[in-house]
Amino acid sequence: MQSQSILEQIEPGTWKRLLGRRAMVRQGVVAGLAATSVPMFLAALARDAHAQAVPTVLQVLNFALTLEHLEAEFYNIAVGRTAIPAAYGTAATVLAGGGASLRPVMEEIAKHETAHVTVLQQTITQLGGTPVAKPTFDFTGGRGATGANGRFGGPFADVFTNAQTFLALAQAFEDTGVRAYKGGAAALVSNVPVLEAALQIHSIEARHAAMVRRLRAEKGWVSGRASTLPTAAQAVYGPGAAAAQFPAEDNTSQAGVNVATLAGASGQVGVAAASEAFDEPLDVATVLQIAGLFIRA
């Protein structure tokens, strides 16, 4: 099993069919991607996104891998599987401070995000691409800048010692992840096994998101675009670069239908349920703006 490719594990028999697509996919790889310098890759991806270019399958996968690296390191530091970098200047005590109930939840999420990194790395390699390297993260939200004391100095300095800060960022990452995969799905239609794997990761992220939200005494679903997240994270529920295609989470219009005015349990569905019942996608550039707060420039 170990030597078997992830794609074969996901869907036995598909790898041979995929090989035929390989040359085609390779042609779609932008030259800059091979360099795998993370900031270069992110900058190029953001530029492409702004230029409205349809990202290639490999670009979407490396974009997803970047987010999974972020999530995996975040949770692995919290559960103690990854040593906390010295730049935080503290031990990771967040689970001890958040009550016994936090650990099993965070261990499960850490396990999934770590697996997602592996799945994406192997899939990218199998498609002839180069997995983007893990960036240097700064979960204090200061883009990796360190002060005279050599420590990260972003607004979330207590991220690994204060459960409320930690959970707020977890919610931001999970809800952003859900929007990011949703926004990327349409660019994967040329490769069904990869599309399906992405969809399967997407709904796992949504399970995580609901749990983290409920741990913060929020509803498991996104209601409107107001949130209890810190100001710096409000963009998580806002509109994307092209608001018509990537509306904010308070959107109630789907395919031209005003869902709020459809027949509900009594009267109409209403604005709240219409917003909650549909999660909205987000574009690559906007997701990278959000994630960029936590990546060393």
Binding site: Q9, I10, S101, P104, V105, E108, I109, K111, H112, E113, A115, T118, V119, Y181, K182, A185, A186, V189, V192, L195, E196, L199, Q200, I201, H202, S203, I204, E205, A206, R207, H208, A209, A210, M211, R214, K219, G220, W221, Q254, A255, G256, V257, N258, V259, T261, L262, A263, G264, A265, Q268, V269, G270, A273, A274, E276, A277, F278, D279, E280, P281
Partner: protein, 247 residues
């Protein structure tokens, strides 16, 4: 019709309230390709013989039938939660106000999904399947454990269904994105329901119990089931015979 069988919806083909002509035209445009395709294919049959209805065959080669599939699943979920919340024992079975609110929210989401698909299919000139729900005697709509176990089954099945239907929408990326907007909400429901059953454990997202529906816990991959699998799992709850073709 047996005692446990109930009419799921009344006038399934009625024009949705609030659907303006502009909305109709936009939807017709959205689904235009599917309509044209369906119109010239005799195999596209959603038969309905009044309240009892005939067998339901869904052809997954046609995007409009993928929407009918979604409508059927959402209608089943909406019917279930509507009955749960309206049940005389609701307030006593669910003593926690937070749990009652959660289930009421889920009911309203499923109704929103059902009504959206009703509007979309109707506006595209499609017909809606006539479905009659039935609940096995093992399901007790007034019992917390039974309700939550059934809800978990429905939500996980919904996630598996949408994830497995993506491959039938690759020619219609806008419909793929639309399905994506809904599947993550179903996954949020599944997470919350599973947490009510086993609070603050790994169960909210541990999908090792969904391996038969295509989940892979070790790889962090959620359920993904074929239409045939999904319809077989839904069949005990729907009186009409359900069949998937073109898969």
């Amino acid at each position: 019709m047996s005692k446990v069988e109930r009419v799921l919806t009344g006038a399934l083909a009625r024009v949705p309230a609030g659907a303006s002509r502009r909305e109709f035209l936009r939807l017709a445009g959205l689904l235009g390709g599917a309509v044209a395709f369906a119109a010239c294919d005799d195999g596209d049959e959603i038969t309905g013989g009044g309240e009892t209805g005939g067998p339901v065959t869904l052809n997954f080669a046609q995007p409009l039938d993928v929407l009918r599939y979604a409508f059927a699943l959402e209608a089943l979920e909406a019917d279930f939660y509507t009955r749960v919340v309206a049940n005389a024992a609701f307030a006593t079975a669910f003593a926690s106000a937070a749990e009652r609110q959660l289930l009421t929210d889920v009911r309203d989401h499923e109704i929103a999904h059902r009504e959206f698909f009703r509007a979309a299919i109707t506006a595209a000139g499609g017909t809606l399947p006539t479905l009659t729900t039935r609940y096995p005697s093992t399901v007790n709509l007034g019992d917390r454990g039974s309700v939550l176990a059934t809800a978990r089954t429905f939500e996980d099945l919904g996630v598996a269904a949408y994830n497995g239907a993506g491959r039938y929408l690759v020619s219609r990326p806008e419909l793929l994105t639309l399905a994506g907007k809904i599947v993550s909400v179903e996954a949020r429901h599944a997470s919350a329901i599973r947490d009510l059953l086993a609070p603050n454990t790994d169960r909210f997202a541990n999908v090792s119990d969904l391996a038969a529906l295509g989940a892979n816990e070790a790889l962090g991959l959620d359920a993904k089931a074929t239409p045939t699998q999904v319809l077989a799992a839904a069949q005990p709850f729907i009186a009409q015979s359900l069949t998937a073709t073109g898969v």
